[in-house]
Amino acid sequence: MIKTLLVLLLFSALSERVEAHEMVPTYPQWGPSHVQGVLKTQMEMFNKRQDVEYYEVGVFDKDWKAVPFVSSYKLFRLKYLGHVKFDIYVRADDVDRAEYVCSKSKLRGGSSAETMLSSRICSRFK
């Protein structure tokens, strides 16, 4: 009886699809960096989407115009169930303009007939 229950639980756990995109913190803060006149913040991302391997990062002002920034990679690979911390550097002159930092899933074309979901999560500087 218990064995049957365990097998059923195992199957239900295996059959459950985890397909999620998340990024923290919601409200990042700028801090000093090792370069004078440049400020830094750190973001953290998790990829629980099996269909996505690449994410694009962007910094935007309140009107969704791009703000110049530097990061290790603007487009980076994050494997399924992977987790990464990345730094974003912005000139001190641009800090007041920077309103959002966003990560967007990059999708590949495929042959299945399913609709695809492009996900984007934006944190906000307050």
Binding site: A20, E22, G110, A113, T115, S118, S119, C122
Partner: protein, 164 residues
């Protein structure tokens, strides 16, 4: 025999170490794909996610751990991301609606939502989970009901979660 078992037990106890479990709780918004949509083909010139026509409605789930901190923006497709070469016009229709909520206080999400172009914007004022279903239909031939060429068709739903 009993002495050996006792010795093993003591040795095991002596070697046991405390293993800490560390976790950080942060406010976050998580976008989940609960159901991938599928286009049904009820006639030669229509592709639709309507279940009655053989389609499957895509379902997007938002998990929010901080009240009144995020906006959800969901956009239904207006073009194919993958398709055979199309020489005629495709007419797109669609909608986004709340399918299910985890908290009764989310009941007004649909009525309070703002719609513009193909996008519906929801104010996520309550902590918890909301499921949104997205309907999408494409008709080929610009009203002339022309048959879609054979091949695979894929379109993209855009789901965004933006901190307020």
């Amino acid at each position: 025999m009993k002495k050996i078992a006792l010795a093993l037990l003591i040795a095991g106890t002596a070697q046991a170490a405390e293993i800490p479990i560390v976790g950080t709780v942060q406010s976050r918004c998580v976008i989940n794909t609960d159901t991938a949509g599928v286009y049904g083909n009820p006639n030669a010139y229509t592709l639709t996610t309507t279940p009655a026509d053989g389609g499957v409605l895509p379902v997007v789930r938002y998990d929010v751990s901080l009240a009144d901190a995020y906006k959800a923006k969901i956009t239904y497709p207006t073009s194919f991301s993958t398709s055979p070469s199309l020489s005629d016009m495709v007419t797109w229709t669609g909608s986004v609606t709340v399918q299910e909520v985890s908290n009764v206080n989310m009941a007004d999400y649909d009525t309070d939502a703002v719609t513009y172009d193909q996008t519906k914007e929801y104010d996520l004022t309550v902590t918890g989970t909301t499921w949104f279903k997205v309907a999408s239909s494409a008709t080929y031939g610009g009203g002339g009901n022309k048959a879609f060429p054979g091949g695979t068709y894929r379109a993209m739903v855009v789901a965004e979660c933006i901190a307020k």
